[in-house]
């Protein structure tokens, strides 16, 4: 008799990530092409051509989580790469020389697919990869918007680039672009993105049914596999799990004292201290600005709609968007306090944080604390500093409550 116990999302995601890497490493043996891809790029184009997408950012995060990032960073810095540049790039460039890592290997790319809606750094990084590996680079330039509305000529430029990308893919593969597969990939991508958004929004429930840190694990699926059936199924499982908990009024914590919004990428090399500090204080990460980037929804029949969606993630938007977005999240998710990660690797995000923290607190009365660190370079992080500052946040919240400031519940 087979075991009928359904797998939890947590079990599933572990399995699926392992399968994902196995499949990627088999790709060349199976005669499939491999592309290295940036994290919020329109991978639907590649999926249409049966190209396996591999994410150096995800790989760098995994290497960090396995405490292997310093080895790679040392190699990259020895080559002359400054410690100032993004640590994902340094880990990846170091990995390229070493050929192996604490998180295993990824297959060498046959092409590179770079979308700069996350930052300008990826353009520099991928150009270096193209030179080093001598493979074609498809550049999807998703212009940054200085205005709240997306301008028409921006959309035109992007849709033209989509057409150019199709031409480049036909050139590289020697095959005509598979529009049917493309449609299917877009449909599934949208479905996954909608489900992802539903899951994220379960965090609005009080008590919060999940530990927001888990979303940094689940994220791998929306990043790497958005557009295929298995990912959609996974997000259905997750959504149903969470919906059931919300229906039961079940929270991740028995005694939810503080609801936190986390802004930025986590410290991949030390998720333990993030988890421990929150848990010890009965704090739950109910909301985070990061996962929302992948709730990429658009009309699959309209390339312009797709362009707009891929240009619209918050790292590609100006200050007022981030400000309104954060205020909205604080309200909708009943947030008590905000922790902003001043991530040494991410200047795009960081240089608005000081002003953002002040403006957000002014508008919402919710305290904000900024912690120094880095996404995958452990040298920039101090556990003692993190714990002290987060402690101070909880004390500020407690103070506000006693003084009845922003009394929320």
């Amino acid at each position: 008799m087979t075991d009928q116990t359904p797998k939890t999302a947590k079990d599933l995601v572990r399995e699926m990530q392992a399968q994902y890497y196995e499949e990627a490493n088999r790709a060349h043996d199976e005669g499939r092409l491999v592309a290295w891809v940036t994290s919020i790029s329109p991978r639907e184009f590649l999926e249409a051509m049966d190209i396996v997408t591999v994410y150096p950012e995800n790989h760098a995060a995994a290497i960090s989580a396995k405490k292997g990032s310093m080895e790679m960073i040392d190699i990259a810095e020895g080559m002359g790469y400054s410690a100032d540049i993004c640590s994902y790039a340094r880990v990846n460039l170091g990995y390229l020389e070493k050929g192996d890592s604490a998180a295993g290997r990824i297959p060498a790319p046959d092409l590179l697919f770079c979308a700069n809606n996350i930052c300008d750094t990826v353009t520099k990084w991928y150009e270096i990869l193209a030179r080093r590996l001598k493979v074609p680079l498809i550049m999807i330039d998703l212009p940054f918007s200085f205005t709240p509305e997306t301008q028409k000529h921006h959309l035109d430029y992007v849709t033209d680039q989509f057409k150019e990308a199709i031409r480049q893919l036909e050139d590289i593969t020697g095959k005509p672009f598979d529009y049917e597969r493309f449609q299917e990939s877009m449909r599934l991508s949208n479905e996954a993105a909608s489900l992802w958004r539903e899951c994220i929004e379960m965090g609005k429930a009080v008590p919060c049914p999940f530990n927001g840190l888990d979303f940094f694990n689940y994220m791998a699926q929306i990043v790497c596999s958005r557009g295929n059936e298995k990912a959609v199924q996974f997000f259905r499982v997750l959504r149903d799990e969470l919906a059931a908990k919300v229906a039961r009024g079940e929270g991740f914590l028995n005694n939810e004292k503080y609801r936190i919004l986390w802004d930025g990428i986590p410290f991949w090399y030390n998720l333990r201290v993030m988890s421990k500090t929150l848990l010890n204080n009965n704090a739950v990460m109910a909301a985070s600005t990061y996962p929302d980037n992948w709730a990429v929804n658009y009309d699959p029949n309209d390339l312009k709609s797709m362009a707009r969606a891929y240009m619209g993630n918050f790292t590609n938007r100006e200050f007022s968007f981030r400000y309104h977005n954060m205020c909205r999240m604080i309200d909708e998710y009943t947030v008590d306090g905000v922790i902003m990660h001043s991530n040494r690797s991410c200047k795009n995000q960081d240089f608005a944080q000081y002003a953002l923290a002040r403006e957000v607190t002014k508008a919402t009365r919710v305290p904000v604390v900024i912690v120094d660190g880095d996404q995958s370079d452990p040298r920039a992080f101090s556990e003692a500093q993190f714990e002290t500052r987060v402690q101070a946040l909880f004390e500020m919240i407690g103070q506000n409550r006693r003084g009845n400031v922003a009394a929320r519940r």
């Binding site: 000529h153 680039q161 608005a352």
Partner: protein, 384 residues
């Protein structure tokens, strides 16, 4: 004072007094001024609108209030811009154009709006896929957008004729600047690194037609003089800029002459002519498509290293000084591969990390001295 000395003194004065230049111009013309953030922005559009483009390249100031907005690892140029903004130094500007040069320039300009909500900040995004027809049109449209925004401020539309004329003027100016560079390389005792920089820097603070006339005056004087660079160590400098002034004085002290530069605040502004086209905005799009070799512009073939090696060859330089502006990501990403291209060509180079505001140049001094010794010992041994 000779005519040459007078000209150099004028350039020096203009370069050190941008606020005064702006004030004088406004008083004389009643016109409006637009601040231009670094690095690439076609000032021609501003000029065609009848406004004065003024470069905002940071400067010498003590960073204090800017720390309320920017973490320590922000480049010194942007910190200075923020500091100036907070202290009201930019209040005489009627608008600011901010290109999306790098990740730092994504959030910083919007900090300027918080600091001074009355001065409109107009964003400019230049494409990565700049050589595609779609990219050229995108660039053209970005400048059309700017022209439209400027028209709102002046109350007058920017005509195509005015823009064509502006482009022709700038093309002439840029040719004269490249001519000046070539002459400066052979007159190292007169056009020391310090004065060379003053000529360049002053171009950002006065109208281009006036600057062009001054530079033509200078090159005419230079052509009368015998060459004076034989005893100097010829270098190509590459990076964002050669500031502060003390750095330039050190370069002179150790006997360097700048044979050519690949600086953002230098030849990257002047070395690419704007080609012809009936549509003046398309002309700007085409120029951006033709331009090569800047760390802040897409370079998928990584041509910058070869461009540098070629510069060394054509100007018979002895070495390259790579001036890495601290916390400048685009330059930092480029360094390892330009290092490789330079080394493969057998050219010695110096890696020198600088900040726009530097309290003590002792460390620069040692490195520059060691590099000067390195080059001259090789030169001497080769001669032997």
């Amino acid at each position: 004072m000779s005519r040459m000395q007078k000209l150099l003194s004028d350039f020096e004065y203009i370069a050190h007094h941008p606020a005064q230049m702006l004030q004088q111009w406004k008083a004389a013309t009643g016109g409006k001024a637009v601040g231009i953030m670094p690095i690439h922005c076609a000032e021609e559009v501003v000029y065609a609108a009848g406004m004065l483009p003024i470069g905002m390249w940071g400067g010498q100031t003590t960073i204090s209030r800017a720390n309320e907005y920017l973490q320590a690892f922000c480049c010194s140029i942007m910190k200075a811009v923020m500091e100036f903004s907070l202290s009201g130094a930019y209040k005489n500007l009627d608008a600011i154009i901010c290109p999306e040069t790098c990740d730092t320039l994504r959030p910083v300009p919007l900090m300027l709006r918080l600091s001074d909500p009355d001065t409109p900040v107009i964003g400019l995004v230049l494409p990565d896929n700049r050589k595609l027809q779609a990219g050229i049109e995108f660039t053209a449209n970005e400048y059309r957008n700017i022209a439209g925004q400027l028209a709102k401020i002046t109350g007058k539309p920017v005509t195509d004729e005015a823009l064509h004329a502006s482009i022709e003027l700038y093309n002439r100016h840029h040719m004269v600047m490249m001519d000046f560079y070539a002459l400066a390389a052979e007159h190292g005792d007169v056009i020391t690194p310090y004065y060379r920089h003053q000529v360049v820097k002053s171009s950002f603070f006065i109208p281009k037609d006036r600057h062009l006339a001054l530079v033509e005056g200078l090159t005419a004087e230079l052509r009368k003089l015998p060459q004076t660079s034989e005893k100097r160590l010829r270098v190509v400098v590459t990076g964002i800029m050669t500031e502060p002034d003390e750095l330039l004085i050190l370069l002179d002290e150790f006997g360097f002459v700048i044979a050519a530069d690949d600086l953002a605040q230098g030849s990257r502004q002047f070395r690419t002519p704007t080609p012809a086209d009936p549509d003046p905005y398309i002309r700007l799009g085409k120029r951006f498509a033709d331009f090569e070799g800047c760390s802040c512009v897409s370079d998928p073939l990584k041509l910058r290293g070869k461009i540098l090696a070629d510069m060394v060859r054509t100007r018979q330089a002895d070495g390259v000084i790579v001036l890495i502006m601290k916390f400048c990501d685009p330059e930092e990403y480029d360094y390892p591969y330009i290092k490789k291209d330079i080394e493969d060509a057998g050219i010695p180079h110096l890696y020198l990390e600088i900040e726009q505001q530097m309290d003590s140049l002792g460390q620069c001094r040692t490195r520059l001295q060691a590099f000067a010794e390195l080059i001259s010992r090789r030169k001497w041994l080769v001669a032997k």
